[in-house]
Subunit: 223 residues, 4 copies
């Protein structure tokens, strides 16, 4: 397993920072153990080290900076991730876009360090372009659907379809999809379209019962 089947992006929601983050991490750990489905978390930078030390789940950062160690106040160097045991990072999320040369540098350095890079893209053409940079995975997320509850796998299946095959032809690159993934049915449809996993946020972080929601979604992968 290089990328999880389900990756939960905690963003900077009140519900998924500090104690809320720890609860979701615990739920992810338990459900992953019970179901055998791999669930990763991408907590806020402030919570990330606490979670990697206290829970047995793959931890990803939400963003990493295109620098190595040095005089970079307020930055997270790619090179620092192995020190903490982080598995990898989201790169170029639509809420934290990067320049193409920055993505290139980050992915290249993450590959050298054996880290998992999950590069986000807005549409199928961007997905294929970014796949050329040879990341571990591309996460297709049409920004206009993020946070809406309208699932990309239902509303824009062509964006996923148009990405999966061309990406797989380029190399051994995983494809995740995100944006609006909320129900077991959304996940099922995404799998049918050929993705290796799903990236989601509000469906879990804003759920009244994140544990139950995670269980519902994990079961889809469990057959």
């Amino acid at each position: 397993m290089s990328t999880p089947n389900i990756l939960v992006n905690f963003k900077a929601f009140r519900e998924s920072m500090h104690s809320g983050a720890f609860e979701i991490a615990r739920a992810a750990e338990e459900i992953s153990r019970e179901t055998g489905v791999s669930i990763g978390v991408a907590p806020n930078h402030i919570d990330a080290y606490y979670i990697v030390k206290n829970f047995d789940i793959p931890v990803f950062l939400q963003h990493v900076d295109p620098v190595s160690f040095g005089a970079y106040t307020g930055h997270i160097p790619v090179d620092s991730l192995p020190l903490y045991g982080f598995k990898g990072s989201l790169v170029n999320h639509s809420e934290k876009r990067l320049r193409i040369d920055e993505i290139r540098n980050i992915v290249s350095r993450m590959n050298d360090l054996g880290l998992v890079s999950i590069v986000c893209s807005s549409d199928n053409i961007e997905s294929v372009a970014l796949a050329i940079l040879n990341p571990t995975a591309i996460a297709v997320e049409p920004p206009e659907l993020i946070g809406t509850g309208i699932s990309v796998s239902k509303a824009k299946p062509e964006v996923i379809k148009g990405a999966v095959d061309p990406i797989k032809r380029i190399g051994d690159i995983k494809v995740l999809c995100g944006a609006g993934i909320t129900t077991a049915d959304d996940v099922k449809r995404a799998i049918e379209l050929g993705v290796d996993g799903v990236l989601l946020a509000t469906a879990v972080t804003k759920s009244k019962n994140p544990r139950e929601k995670l269980m519902e979604l994990a079961k889809v992968f469990k057959f």
Copy 2:
């Protein structure tokens, strides 16, 4: 005490991330206790929560984003700082500059939340302009001296002098100075120029013996 006499910015140096960061934090805690001089630390985002939980010293972030809680992947909301017990944050460090409207929003929200905002500036005019925004402190740091070992208090005393009086006339705002502060003598000169404290990085983080270096500098405040 609202701002520390000595604030150590850990930046993203290999020597002051992870275990190195924890050692400097321990040294700061011990020397602060022994001398009674207030020493604060500004560790990397990844180390910050570990340090605030494990050491009895004021912890500042190196940077905070001009947002409140929400769908902000890769951001640190101002509003999240109290959850973790952080004392405050550096704002607008020369390695992480911000737009004027962002500084305005951050400082205003930090004031509402009772957080300590230490806004960095490059010269005396910028210092006075930023003081109008009513932060807790202004840290004057001519960028061309940062990391050089050439002390601002010796090489550019006029930048500090030209900032201290005008700032104090604007309101109850602390003045720190930084850039090249390395020796006890540099600190003495800074105090003579009227500053309330010093902001430093490499002098401690790159020192062969950070504990000793911190003791040397702390003693200047102890008279």
Copy 3:
């Protein structure tokens, strides 16, 4: 006259680029001549040189970059403005925000070169902070009112009032106000609040008859 009584920001509207821009420039020239009221224009970078060569009115850029001549593809150096006969530039417009150190550098260099710097701000505190940098003028423009047709002079008089006196105490700095200024009455109210001029865009650029609209607004200054 260092700043015009009326400054029209052409932005990048279809109606005020190319031929539309030239028509508004001609109207501004004629009405300025007829009424004696000083009217300046801030056309798009592409139209600016054509307008300064063909019309007898003060031309301002909408933005200038914090660099001098050099290898800066896609940038407009401050130092180049006198070559073309531009009077000055808007700086830090809410649609083109700058970092505080960039504003500082631009204003300082524009002062050296005898250029008119009109620095935009969002509220009264930001206005006073930016006045410390000693620009020719501060243009107060609450971003939430820009383009709405709801005039700042009616909807937020306190933002203007709270800026005028403190700015005038700092130095010989003009105060303009903008955002939603649409009618002669809006301009009257602005003048009563103590401003030296108004900055506007849509009221003129989107008007069916820009010439008539400019005449309506210019008359307010004419007695």
Copy 4:
């Protein structure tokens, strides 16, 4: 001809703004006429419209913004280029880098409008990734060689070789190379490596005799 054999980027040099720009434009026009070799110019935004109106050569912008017409102070909308007769634009020059989603939007809109997009890249992998976005041309320019006089075609032939074939396999996309191109020999080597043209700046703009230099380089294409 969709892209010129020689494209001269005027950047923001004192020597190639205003009167200097017009002289180089005239030289380009004359030599193009004499030799039949297509020479394009990318002047500063301020000079661009004057040059397109007064000289019979293809004019490119140095940068264009990922917006259409609207309330975008200080921006150049893609949609405005046809109004002025510009042929196209450089996109993502190393001195004006863009985010991947911005490049995607600009190229896609330029294609709709029949404009020539010349997207700059730093190395061969980035080149191939950007080719997926289907621009008119990719200009490979290793940033570390820009302005050095050390020619990419001699110092880093592998960067060009590694780009040409993969790009040509993706589609009908031209390949230019730049960075350090100074002599006829540099151009010859570039052509041997398979490029369709060269992008250069200082070789011409800083030359004591830009006309002579252009003639020297144009002759290589004339065989």
